[in-house]
């Protein structure tokens, strides 16, 4: 009995040690201890400078993956001492993989993270500031659009550069609009028109939806855009709190936009997934990111669609919410090499190609007036949307989940909008408070 006790004790002690060693053990380079990554490129063997291996994660989409593989190949040719291991992780999965990796101190060297996470991670020291010698603060500030780098600064230093910058654009199926006798070239210009079009384009048969006018599911950037346009207040940056449920104008805006579901029933979750429906020609209009330009080109090349700015409110505002991700590097990364990679990924050349292929917006000021980009009619509209834009206030996975859960409630239950919003606001504030303590 005594023996069993002592064995048990030893096990418990061992368990404590095992759990304890997670944060403590310092590592010079994350990849040096990783015996499994035996892959090395030929270039790095020929170089006589010190070899550095970097792991790199990004959330994937087909257009992005192929492109980044090409770009990184080029980067490795320019920097023969650096080998980059690319990992593409599906967007839905991305947070689920990155967050545990951060918690267990096994994050990749360079990775994308939603911009709302950057300051939080910087605060706990999971990521390190960019190497000043390669990317000086002053040049970051002069080169990038202010709204895209606002969230990347902590303690006077930049922790990353923006990527995956997105605004909200309007997509419509020209054929379906034409069939209803609606303006299929310009699309709806105001929210009133948008609601009107959506009602007209929704078709049911025996009470079952056969065509949806607008695949609206309360995607956060859509909703916050209309709130902003109505001059409502979604988030109060001074107090650092969400205030939309207490702001009359904001509630009015959310009521208007959610009524397309609650009253007009222009989309039904039982019908089909919204973008899938758009691709099949069964959903007539969508609000979405410019990235869908690149996406639709590969997934639905035959669809005849139009693209325009987000509808305008009575206030005349046509403001669109801008969200972005940041390229950052983990605290274990070799600072110089990692900054070089980030510098390259955020360079004008890369951003331009990125925009041309995926439709995602550039974050560099110089590219806003780039002639080649403007030549493409779709991309030029995407660029135009940046002229009147504001930064989204909900840019972490956990916050998004709370918002989506709440909006689902708006869509499928009869609960009063005010209660749902209030409840959602409390939960959001609770989530961001985790940071402050």
């Amino acid at each position: 009995m005594k023996k069993t006790c002592s064995v048990l004790l030893a096990v418990i002690v061992a368990a404590f040690l095992l759990t304890g060693c997670g944060g403590g053990a310092p590592e010079e380079s994350a990849s040096s201890g990783d015996s499994s990554s035996s892959y090395t490129s030929e270039e790095s063997l020929t170089a006589d400078t010190q070899k550095v291996e970097l792991t790199y994660w990004q959330h994937s989409s087909e257009a992005r993956n192929a492109m980044i593989t090409e770009l990184v190949k080029k980067f490795q040719e320019e920097n023969p001492n650096i080998t980059v291991h690319l990992e593409f992780i599906p967007e839905d999965d991305y947070t689920e993989k990155l967050i545990p990796a951060l918690a267990t101190d096994s994050a990749p060297d360079v990775f994308q993270v939603q911009s709302g996470m950057v300051t939080r991670l910087a605060k706990v020291g999971s990521i390190q500031p960019l190497d000043e010698a390669i990317m000086p603060t002053a040049s970051i500030e002069s080169d990038f659009i202010a709204s895209t780098i606002d969230g990347l600064k902590y303690g006077g230093k930049y922790y990353g550069v923006p990527t995956d910058t997105q605004s909200i654009l309007l997509y419509w199926n020209k054929d379906l609009l034409k069939a209803e006798g609606l303006d299929s070239e310009k699309g709806p210009q105001t929210w009133e028109e948008m609601f009107e079009y959506a009602r007209k384009l929704t078709k049911t048969n025996n009470g079952q939806m056969v065509q949806s006018g607008w695949g609206h599911k309360g995607y956060f950037p859509e909703v916050t855009s209309i709130v902003e346009q109505y001059a409502g207040k979604f988030y109060d940056s001074q107090s650092g709190k969400y205030v939309f449920a207490d702001d009359e104008t904001a509630v009015k805006a959310i009521t208007d936009i959610s009524n397309v579901i609650r009253v007009d029933k222009v989309y039904d979750e039982n019908f089909m997934a919204n973008w899938a429906g758009f691709r099949e020609g069964k959903v007539a209009m969508m609000l979405g990111h410019p990235a869908m330009i690149g996406n639709l080109a590969t997934t639905a090349p035959d669809i005849n669609y139009g693209i325009g700015l987000i509808p305008a409110a009575d206030t005349g505002s046509r403001s669109s919410c801008v969200t972005s991700w940041g390229y950052v590097m983990s605290k274990n990364a070799e600072s110089e090499a990692a900054t070089k990679l980030i510098d390259y990924l955020g360079s004008e050349e890369v951003e331009k190609q990125w925009t041309l292929i995926t439709g995602e917006l550039p974050a560099r000021k110089a590219l806003l007036d780039d002639a080649e980009l403007k030549a493409d009619s779709k991309i030029s509209i995407a660029l135009e949307s940046l002229n009147e834009s504001f930064v989204g206030s909900l840019q972490t996975g956990a916050l998004n989940t709370i918002w989506n859960d709440a909006y689902e409630k708006i869509m499928v239950t009869d609960e009063s909008l005010e209660t749902i919003l209030k409840d959602c606001q409390d939960k959001l504030n609770e989530e961001i408070a985790k940071d402050i303590e």
Binding site: I12, F16, G22, I99, V412
Partner: protein, 299 residues
Amino acid sequence: MNIVNSSKVQKKTKKVNMIKIAPYLFIGPAVIYIFAATIIPIIMALPISFTNWSALTPDKKFVGIDNYQKLIYDKDFWNSCLITVKFFVFVPLVMLVSLGTAVILNVKLRGIKFFRVIFYSPVITSTIAVALLFEWFYQPSFGLFNNILNFFGLAGIGWVNNASTAVMSVIIFKIWKDFGIGMLIYLAGLQDVPGEIKEAASIDGATAWQKFIYITMPMLRPAHIYLLITNIIGVFMIFQETYMLKGPLNSTRSVINYIYDKGFSSAEMGYACAMSFVLFLIVMTVTLVQYKATKMDLL
């Protein structure tokens, strides 16, 4: 190979030693594996559950019973418990279906073995893969099930897409997937029921139904107990089905799904460990009570 060349005396002492060492060598790998993969982790879970370990607090701090206190007030946790309780409807239903099919297949007919093979086939397939199929069957607008209902002039229902029918839909799927396990176990039990007893009962004028209730059912007691226990534990552990077939408003989020979300989507490792430890205690208690109540020996 050395043994072959060594002297007889050495050989003998070596052998005596070998008999002492051999069992440890045989069980060694298994014991080490189970120790490392199950015992150490379960012991580790306890200290972790007393920390605030998360992605935003990688330098974990000891927070005492904070996580356990938080759990008491966590509405989402209790809601997921409630959903898990709803899934318990599965247990009697699947046992009934298993028993029914077993009774049918126990009749001596030509080619009956072939049907046994077919009926068991869903069990061996990947839950994830067949869930894709059912995802399509359940699709409210285009899916098969509503088309069948419409064909008979009935209105379609929302299935997984409707919070009030989502749990039911998952249960139907799970019965289809799992009834074969119980069927085989019942079948083995049925084949052990001696024919003489039934014959004697027939002579005494017992109907088929009476024979089934008073003779067959009691003989199947061990099978009932085994299936009851494994199915209850199975429901506590429900994860893959609800990972794939997600109802709206978190209507199918089971305890395990919730723990998984907390542990990995928001990486609240400390809190997730506290929840899983509580669940572990509940499952252990239920299991032990069942073993006790049914007077089954642990070994």
